[in-house]
Subunit: 324 residues, 2 copies
């Protein structure tokens, strides 16, 4: 575990964070980390000028966070090497990571992938090495409503896990504990997970049906969960996800289906992140949320006809949406 | 074949037709039959007053048909008993048939079901007897564009078949030939089919994917066929239809898939009938086009996961569309 000692051993106040992608997710978590006293560097694209001049505003159910000054960067070249590089981009931007990560990541630092779906950590591992990757699943409702302006509506928890080659479970490592502590001191509850892949499949149980169907059916979570047909279809999709996870030794009991249904029923009516992307004519995160899980299923010969059909429908809609 | 002799033996000029549902289909075929010299009675609902006063207008690629006077009826009670009762309603109105058919059908007459999907003939057989039912599949692009005003865009052929109990193949019966002759003398090409069920499954190969996906994907035929993902999905749906048909002894070679693909590519961009119904907030013909085929698949334990998923999506969309 030599790879972890540097981070685990560092004084907490000195840990330096980079946020790649200062949007709904990166803007929220970055602002909270900065507010807790950590040094945070933000990579921005369109919003760079605005944020450099006016900082970040997070309107939040927990109380607003106003940061008039932040360390904004338009290019990774100006960012100092960081201990923790948070990948909070849309996965559709991940082709930029090979250019960005090597220069912004300290030799003993770690990349924290805060994205949905499957397969990003192995991809990052190829760039920086498998011992410098962690992953997190964010349970949060937040949107970017303007340049440097995030609106945080509900939830904020992260399920955090360390990454082992080919998603081998790593258990609770020292660096996981250290980074969890940074987030917790910034008021972000952390579920420390021993098995990142298990956590990823567990979140896909929700993301695959509800992200996908929200776009195809042009529907909010409450419309879907309130209709018996959409609800049954969501359950059937969840069953396929569970079957694939099981083929990888990640057993998710059927009670997770009921848990997801109950939870979705209790949520405020919610436009999923994929639906927001679609409505704003951004490319959909189909590679990570659909293609990688389907590829994983095919590798183990688990039939996933419904997920595959949903993926085909989404590819059609995405391409038309991007073309127009 | 005693049931057929009365019709087959009647002088052609005396055959009296009833058209139940004077819309895109019934208005077109009824007008052509009347123009050829046959007595035709039309049942109308909303358009009754207009058609009684102004007759029917069919704008057509074949040349317009203007009928200033037609025998319009607001209720079946005023219609005389007819030799051929053409059911050209939307299948969503078929609950009205038990009230209507007995009074309008001559004892030796026949009901001709000109609707898509599966299962209507057995339903009509329960009302009038299995020896008084025929079916037809219409290959036509036409729309009702106003009261008593039909626009005929392309095609017009009917595949006509006699009905045997539980869709047993009846071969080419005398009454089939006689009715085919009426239509052909009215300029409507007829494919006489020996096996109505085979013809129904053959048409479902197209209707299930393209009617269904046009609504879910909000797409024209050309958009679907031009996109590799939608096209592959359409093919996968067709394969399921073919598998169910095979379980009923109706072997449809895979070359029908290519034929349907080629044909759809060559068609003018076309809004399917189900899409038109959806856009005009009419209930969708899901029972005949989806539920009955799925029930047939289940009875033979043929898995149809994709058709079932499409059906669930359509039920969601239909109910929301009807509710709003």
């Amino acid at each position: 575990m030599g790879c972890c000692s540097a981070i685990a051993g560092m004084p907490q106040s000195k840990r330096r964070y980079a946020i790649l992608g200062t949007g709904a997710l990166g803007g929220f978590y970055g602002a909270r980390l900065q507010q807790s006293g950590l040094e945070v560097h933000y990579l921005l694209h369109r919003d760079y000028d605005h944020v450099r001049q006016h900082g970040l505003v997070v309107e939040s159910v927990d109380g607003d966070v106003i940061l008039p000054e932040v360390q904004a960067h338009a290019r990774v070249a100006t960012m100092p090497p960081c201990d923790v590089v948070v990948v909070a981009l849309k996965t559709t931007q991940n082709h930029l990571l090979p250019q960005w990560l090597p220069s912004v990541l300290k030799p003993d630092g770690v990349v924290l992938v805060l994205q949905n779906g499957l397969g990003v950590e192995p991809y990052v591992a190829e760039i920086v090495g498998a011992d410098r990757v962690m992953g997190g699943l964010c349970f949060i409702c937040s949107n970017k409503v303007g340049p440097g302006h995030i609106r945080h509506l509900d939830y904020k928890k992260i399920a955090l896990g360390d990454y082992g080659p080919n998603y081998a479970a790593r258990g609770i490592t020292e660096r996981l504990k250290a980074i969890a502590q940074d987030f917790e001191q910034a008021g972000i509850p952390i579920d420390q997970t021993e098995d990142l892949l298990w956590a990823r499949w567990k979140k896909l149980i929700w993301n695959i049906p509800f992200n996908g169907l929200s776009v195809v059916l042009n529907a909010s979570t409450s419309e879907m969960i309130g209709d018996p047909h959409a609800r049954q279809l969501a359950i059937a999709l969840m069953q396929e996800v569970i079957a694939v996870a099981a083929a990888y030794g990640r057993v998710l009991d059927d009670h997770y289906i009921q848990q997801n249904i109950d939870h979705t029923e209790q949520m405020k009516p919610y436009r999923t992140s994929m639906k927001i992307d679609y409505d704003e004519q951004r490319p959909l995160e189909l590679e990570a949320i659909f293609k990688q899980p389907i590829t994983a299923a095919q590798a183990k010969q688990v039939p996933v006809p419904l997920i595959h059909m949903l993926y085909q429908q989404l590819q059609f809609l995405d391409q038309r949406n991007q073309g127009s």
